[in-house]
Subunit: 344 residues, 2 copies
């Protein structure tokens, strides 16, 4: 697996970067959670677990949402909490079915905002064709939480024959990205206090299960699906390279970034490869079907800008290498520190 930048003892307490989706997040899981809670499911570190249930296979996943601000261009914490969990299920090759929602609310939170969030969750759930079937609400005293945190969990159905896993990335696989990157992260940063700048950039927050259901029609040709959220596509690709112990080769020129987003990244000093997405996916697919898969994706509204950005190679196992725009090549590593706290 990924090497740890510093031994556990170097961090006597939890840092913001431990929640950033990069190296430190992995280290936290490896050093603290897996030694105690590790098991055949959890240890796969997939977007969700695939568990047997009677005669069915169920995908089961959870995510906590602590995004700041809670309302942002293109979405809000409610829509994000629904879509994020729907997407994690979709990336397991599952059809998302049922969601739970746990609310932790700060005393004094406006009832009107809570209504707005509930309405937004309902809209997102209806669009994604899932149902929020169970929930819980806790209220903490003023100053003991920041407005509202939502934790969704979800269960989905996995059809017979579907087998999607980061471990299935194989040399020769074509890597397809469903669209322009870094929109979510930059949309959030653009409205954060102290960082406001003029932009029309909106979050790409969306449910991807419609798109994945079309991909699943290609059966065993779909090897890996991953939504590159916190940590961006760089972290997602590194996790897959590590899980499957394969090399990944991508071409910078092929990776679509909207001009506005690229400009904002330059102003803020961010590399778009590391910036969060909430409505994009990466698919690792068998080369023979790659062209057909790309075509299907491009016909879907959420995949119209889909492109092949690289391939899986037998060399440099565990490492992502990018051919840069100017022709050189460089290692694209996991993020070490924290780039954008509370981005989801």
């Amino acid at each position: 697996m990924i090497s740890c930048p510093l031994p556990f003892n170097s961090y006597p307490s939890v840092q913001l970067a431990h929640g950033g989706g990069g190296k430190l997040s992995q280290q936290l899981v490896q050093d603290i959670f897996l030694p105690f809670l590790g098991n055949e499911y959890l240890s796969q570190l997939h977007d969700g677990a695939i568990v047997p249930f009677g005669n069915e296979r169920i995908a089961f996943t959870t995510d906590s949402y602590v995004i700041n601000p809670i309302f942002f261009p293109g979405g809000d914490i409610g829509a994000l909490a629904v879509n994020g969990t729907v997407n994690d299920l979709a990336m397991c090759g599952a059809t998302p079915r049922f969601l739970s929602a746990g609310f932790i609310i700060e005393e004094g939170f406006p009832m009107e905002d809570l209504q707005r969030i509930a309405a937004s969750m309902q809209e997102a759930a209806a669009l994604a064709r899932v149902v929020v079937v169970t929930g819980d609400t806790k209220v903490v005293d003023r100053g003991k939480a920041d407005k509202i945190f939502i934790t969704t969990a979800g269960i989905g159905e996995i059809a017979d024959g579907v087998s999607i896993s980061p471990m299935l990335a194989s040399p020769g696989d074509v890597i397809i990205l469903s669209g322009r990157i870094a929109q979510h992260g930059i949309a959030i940063m653009s409205v954060r206090e102290g960082l406001r700048f003029e932009t029309d950039i909106v979050s790409d927050c969306a449910a991807l299960n419609g798109l994945t259901s079309e991909l699943l029609a290609f059966g065993e040709s779909i090897h890996v699906l991953r939504d590159p959220t916190r940590g961006g596509i760089a972290s997602a690709l590194n996790e897959i390279a590590a899980a499957a112990q394969v090399g990944i080769w991508i071409e910078e020129e092929a990776i679509p970034v909207a001009d506005e987003v690229r400009g904002a990244c330059e102003i803020l000093g961010f590399d778009p490869l590391y910036v969060a997405n909430e409505g994009k996916l990466i698919a690792f697919v068998a080369p023979d079907d790659a062209a057909a898969i790309l075509e299907v994706m491009q016909q879907h509204p959420l995949g119209k800008d889909a492109v092949a950005i690289g391939q899986v190679v037998a060399d440099h196992a565990g490492t992502v290498i990018m051919k840069s725009r100017v022709g050189g090549k460089r290692v694209v590593d996991m993020l070490s520190g924290e780039q954008l706290p509370r981005i989801c």
Copy 2:
């Protein structure tokens, strides 16, 4: 359903009591969540949802834990998060199988405490025979959360023929309580800053699925199962009376309260009927099997103090009436305000 003490407009913002499990919690759900998110599952307001899945029925539930302090006599937030969700599944008549865990951690939280919590979760999961299969960690900046919040969700299997629901309470049902009440709430209050007093009271935090699995052997004679957590047995009984539109009659003298707990309640000014439990259950059972069920419960370590505390009646539908120790009778209402914030 329960009448709302004040119209929605009276509360422009969320109050602590909205998370207390009493009237205001119900009102929040009725006024804010159900109008948007309501559906055949969520609207049942059971401890969990029972959803169809292929040929199986799945119980699915979630709870967020914000307890303060995070380590307390008899448990910690980790064990509580596992046992609480296990119990919610058990109260649906399910065999708990898989859990998810979402962690929201305040920057600076000691790594050692996180390890201790992970170890405690693992111990609780092993005892309850469930597996934590998926998780997520978010870190928020210092001062934006209080140490650590954990949201667990769980899925469980419901055997053919099992049908447990608060709506199934029927006149004639005997109401059995599995043991002494109010231990969890008082254990927490005893160690809270400013309220420390000399006591050996420990939380009853425990997984009840071993006990419920023995009850389920009685098939259709088990009508309702409920773990009386926040809001205590008073709130649990009121919810059942409202859901089934039946009257509930209980006898104060029959309700077991340890002397120490009773003493602490008197000092603190709490009514034990409203104080949280985390390892007790209430069962509504068919009268013909009540004696046999009671005997089975008493042979289980978590049910050794089980007693019948009352019965379901056809009169005063929706209302809980208690024959008091001195012989009078009084309505036991839902809690209006907040008695013990952040008790779970």
